[in-house]
């Protein structure tokens, strides 16, 4: 009895190596992006790869590390000053998104800001209008927390114009997860003496569109942070250097980058980004406004397009799950198109409003099927099917696309995105 699985595993291992090579060769989009990068950016000389690395010394120490020449995860920039650049979810492991692969959504370019000239002003319905430098903010007691940021529009293409040839990056690449360090906003509220009459605050960025959003003061007093570090280093310019607002679980656009001003007021300020955009048209002729919290969601990141399974046998199904309302309490996986569901393993201690990594070991019998994942959060919310979501939101709605994602596995091992679930 024991010999068969061992033999099979040996075969699978051998096959997996072949499959990896095939996968690398079958990545037309990544390849195309690399070609573009090579054409426009000076590249360092190709490293010498010895036949046997144990028989010759390797490279000397360096000031800044780099990825292996065999590894080249890439975002997918649109190359404009308004637009997106998506995280390659299929290339990542664990829960932390490397800072240089964190998705970006910009509305007027990424500004270059001298931190010595940048301040945060808090004014409006406060007893003491205050101005903080970055150095001031670093003198406050800091907190370090892990949270995801997901763009409210994440998953739009998969909802509206799905294609079988969509990668996890193209389906849901506008979510990323980082360890953030900064100051609780409530501490800054205390410095300013926020008045009881203040119910909303305007958060304004120092970019070329002065991006601004109205946020309930209750959120500011709850878990909001003004952060200056991400994954152990100062924020990167694309993530708001020198400071950004971090509103755990809220739609990405509210996490205002390059934060320069907070104004306390009685009512929402009704900026363009909370009226014309980032609002959800619903059936019945209404528009949902201030839909801040990101509903629970998950996506399998492997197996996924453009992977090809080399044959039947054991395959890890892995992916990410998150909720803007709290902790992911459970992730279910289905390997029979949603007929039955099995609880997956969560690989880390799950932090609230943070990505969780799930895993389920699947013994594929070689028949065509669909695999999918379903997140459940600690509020009892269950990630809905596409049909459920379309029934309550309408096919033409906008933002907050959190339905179950499925991948079709064909008999030949090819994996494609399946929208109709």
């Amino acid at each position: 009895m024991n010999e068969a699985p061992i033999t099979r595993r040996t075969l699978i291992t051998g096959a997996a190596v072949v499959a990896s090579g095939a996968i690398l060769g079958n990545l037309p989009e990544a390849g195309a992006q690399q070609a573009v990068a090579k054409a426009t950016t000076p590249q360092p000389p190709a490293p010498v790869i010895p036949a046997d690395p144990t028989k010759a010394p390797g490279a000397a120490t360096s000031a800044v590390g780099s990825r292996s020449p065999f590894v080249a995860p890439q975002r997918s920039p649109v190359g404009e000053i308004t637009g997106t650049s998506l995280t390659p979810l299929q290339d990542l492991a664990g829960t932390i998104t490397p800072s240089d692969l964190h998705f970006t959504r910009i509305h007027a370019g990424t500004p270059t800001i001298d931190p010595a000239k940048h301040t945060l002003v808090i004014h409006g319905l406060v007893d003491r209008p205050v101005e903080f430098t970055l150095a001031d903010l670093k003198r406050f007691p800091s907190v370090t927390r892990t949270h995801f940021i997901e763009c409210a529009g994440n998953g739009r293409a998969a909802y509206r114009t799905p294609k079988p040839q969509m990668t996890p990056q193209q389906v849901d690449g506008m979510t990323s997860n980082s360890e953030w360090t900064g100051v609780p906003l409530i501490d800054l509220f205390r410095e300013a003496g926020v008045q009881n009459s203040a119910k909303w605050f305007l958060a304004e960025g120092g970019d070329a569109c002065l991006l601004s959003r109205s946020i309930p003061v209750t959120k500011g007093r709850d878990d909001a942070l003004v952060v200056y570090a991400q994954n152990g280093e100062p924020l990167r310019p694309e993530q708001g250097f020198p400071i950004r607002l971090l509103l755990p679980g809220y739609e990405g656009n509210t996490n205002v980058k390059w934060l320069r001003r907070i104004k306390l007021g009685l009512e929402p300020f009704m900026t363009r980004w909370e009226t014309s955009k980032y609002t959800d048209p619903l059936p019945g002729g209404i528009v949902r406004q201030f839909s801040f919290e990101m509903d629970a969601k998950s996506i399998i990141t492997s197996p996924a397009f453009p992977e090809k399974l080399s044959g039947p046998g054991w395959w890890p199904i892995t992916g990410l799950a998150w909720s803007g309302r709290g902790r992911v309490s459970r992730v279910d996986v289905s390997v029979d198109g949603g007929t039955s569901w099995i609880g997956a393993e969560l690989l880390t201690t799950v932090a609230p409003k943070s990505h969780a990594r799930f895993q389920y070991m699947w013994k594929w019998d070689g028949n065509e099927t669909m695999i999918m994942s379903r997140a459940v959060d600690d509020q009892g919310y269950v990630q809905p099917t596409m049909a459920q979501l379309k029934a309550v939101r309408g096919a033409g709605t906008d933002y907050h696309f959190n339905s179950i994602r499925a991948w079709r596995v064909a008999k030949d091992g090819t994996v494609t995105f399946e929208a109709a679930t």
Partner: protein, 201 residues
């Protein structure tokens, strides 16, 4: 009470009441003063605030002196806006949104994402047009329009959408008084209070 004895007494409380472990740990070094302050930063002067306090909300608070008409705005639009948003405000999606000419009369955007959402059929507040143009437009030279030009181009856009008549003068008093057709369609987020966070809404 010195620091360590405070920590010990805190620990004792924590052992009795697990909930106490979630108390604000900063109480350890700040005591129970309210409000708790570190006296960091410095007073934001009136001049500092005035230099950046430029938001305009639905009440019109913050609107500057000045005025403009649709006729004046046509010139401003042609010179500063049409190259991206088109001569008729048709836009070049997705980079440059359509501003004008969306269907009026129905409000069925949830049925089809291709129905254009424009100022006249989707924007709930006229003040938002002024606020956004002043913040962010033109894209490559934001902040370059005068207050009069901003009033004028706002008047032009509203006029083209049939919201204000020809010859209207918009200023700090008349702009916030405009009632936008889409206003009554906007509702606050109802996902959580009515569903306990569980339902799909």
């Amino acid at each position: 009470m010195n620091y360590m004895s405070r920590v010990r007494s805190y620990s004792a409380v924590c052992c009795i009441l697990a909930a106490a472990c979630r108390l604000d740990s900063r109480d350890d070094y700040l005591g129970d003063k309210d409000p708790k302050q570190f006296d960091l930063g410095h007073t934001a002067t009136a001049a500092t605030i005035a230099a950046i306090d430029m938001d305009v909300g639905p009440t019109g608070a913050g609107l500057p002196a000045g005025s403009g008409t649709p006729e004046q705005g046509a010139t401003v639009y042609a010179a500063n806006c049409a190259s991206c948003h088109g001569e008729k405000g048709e836009g070049k999606p997705p980079l440059y949104p359509q501003l004008l000419g969306g269907p009026k009369g129905s409000f069925d955007f949830a049925s089809d994402f291709k129905i254009p959402r424009t100022i006249g059929n989707y924007w709930p507040f006229a003040t938002t047009v002024f606020d956004y143009v002043r913040r962010a437009m033109p894209l490559t030279t934001p902040g370059s329009l005068t207050a009069d030009q901003t009033y004028a181009v706002t008047a032009y856009l509203l006029n083209r959408e049939g919201i204000v008549p020809d010859g209207t003068t918009l200023d700090a008093k008349s702009l916030p008084a405009i009632q936008m057709p889409a206003r009554s369609h906007f509702v606050a987020d109802d996902r959580r209070p009515s569903s306990g966070g569980k339902g799909v809404r």
